[in-house]
């Protein structure tokens, strides 16, 4: 046996004896071990609870700060777009869509003829 995962009979015997012996503990020691475990588990629960407690108020405070900032801040300045890229508002939409404009398009040939006549005249 060179220490790998195979075991001789001697190793098996003493290993089994040690494991069996480890279960035989007096009541006082068992109780102290149980208390130690309980202390550790309590701490684990406390830690989880305290993290929840710590983050929840922080989240609420952050949300409240954002709301207050939005309510109290003056209207933010509207950025003025560059003239070259400015998009005209749709104020002239009604003009574009007016009926006479459509008539203009429909009578385009007429106005071209009229213009030619005037030039000749």
């Amino acid at each position: 046996m060179a220490g790998d995962n195979r075991q001789t009979d001697f190793e098996k015997r003493i290993g089994q004896a040690l494991r069996q012996h480890s279960d035989q503990l007096d009541a006082a020691t068992r109780s102290r071990l149980a208390r130690a475990r309980s202390t550790a588990i309590d701490e684990l629960r406390d830690n989880r609870f305290s993290w929840r407690n710590r983050w929840f108020p922080l989240g609420v405070a952050a949300a409240a700060a954002v709301v207050v900032a939005l309510l109290l801040s003056p209207n933010p300045p509207v950025p003025v777009p560059d003239s070259s890229t400015r998009i005209e508002p749709l104020e002239d939409l009604d003009i574009v869509l007016a009926e006479d404009s459509l008539e203009l398009i429909e009578d385009w040939e007429f106005y071209r003829w009229l213009e030619d006549v005037q030039d000749v005249g």
């Binding site: 220490g3 003493i14 012996h21 202390t39």
Partner: protein, 173 residues
């Protein structure tokens, strides 16, 4: 986590006691290891808890041994008490859990006490490798990770431990 701790606590106590030879200090070491595991590694996968726990326990045991050595030196400096470093005899102090019974039971108890004493007397790394492999049932790879050394070192420590135990316990085991 609670189930894991409940499962390992007794063996962990014995492993610590073999090194520290003191019940109170062994209990303190186990509790320290439990707390540290919970504080630092409870979010890790459950499969990693066993090597982590025993690594922490090993560190706690070594810390206690160092503190004890310093304490003994300080006491020796002031010339008080027994600071010869003589360790307590766990065989003599072990609770007598023998049931009144036949001679065979007496022989088994003697054999068990001899085994405990022999394990306690192993060099620290041999004892650690042997107990992790035999009591905790860790394989070579996990034992190496727990002890922070190579698998080759674990095999060496373990085989030397078995050799020492066989030489010493041949008549009993």
């Amino acid at each position: 986590m609670e189930r894991f701790l409940a499962e390992v606590e007794r063996r962990a106590f014995h492993i610590a006691r073999y090194s520290l030879r003191d019940d109170d200090e062994a209990l303190d070491a186990v509790q320290d290891a439990m707390l540290k595991l919970v504080r630092r590694y409870s979010s890790r996968p459950a499969g990693e808890w066993q090597p982590l726990f025993y690594r922490i326990l090993g560190n706690c045991v070594r810390d206690m041994q160092r503190r004890r050595a310093v304490r003994n030196r300080v006491i020796a400096w002031f010339g008080r008490g027994d600071a010869t470093g003589r360790e307590r005899d766990i065989v003599a102090e072990a609770p007598d859990c023998r049931e009144p019974g036949p001679e065979k039971q007496q022989q088994l108890d003697d054999a068990m006490q001899a085994l405990q004493q022999a394990v306690a007397d192993l060099p620290p790394r041999q004892r650690e490798a042997f107990l992790l492999r035999q009591m905790e049932g860790l394989d070579v790879a996990v034992t190496a990770r727990t002890m922070g050394c190579s698998q080759g070192s674990v095999k060496t420590h373990y085989s030397r431990a078995v050799h020492n135990l066989r030489e010493r316990l041949g008549e009993y085991w």
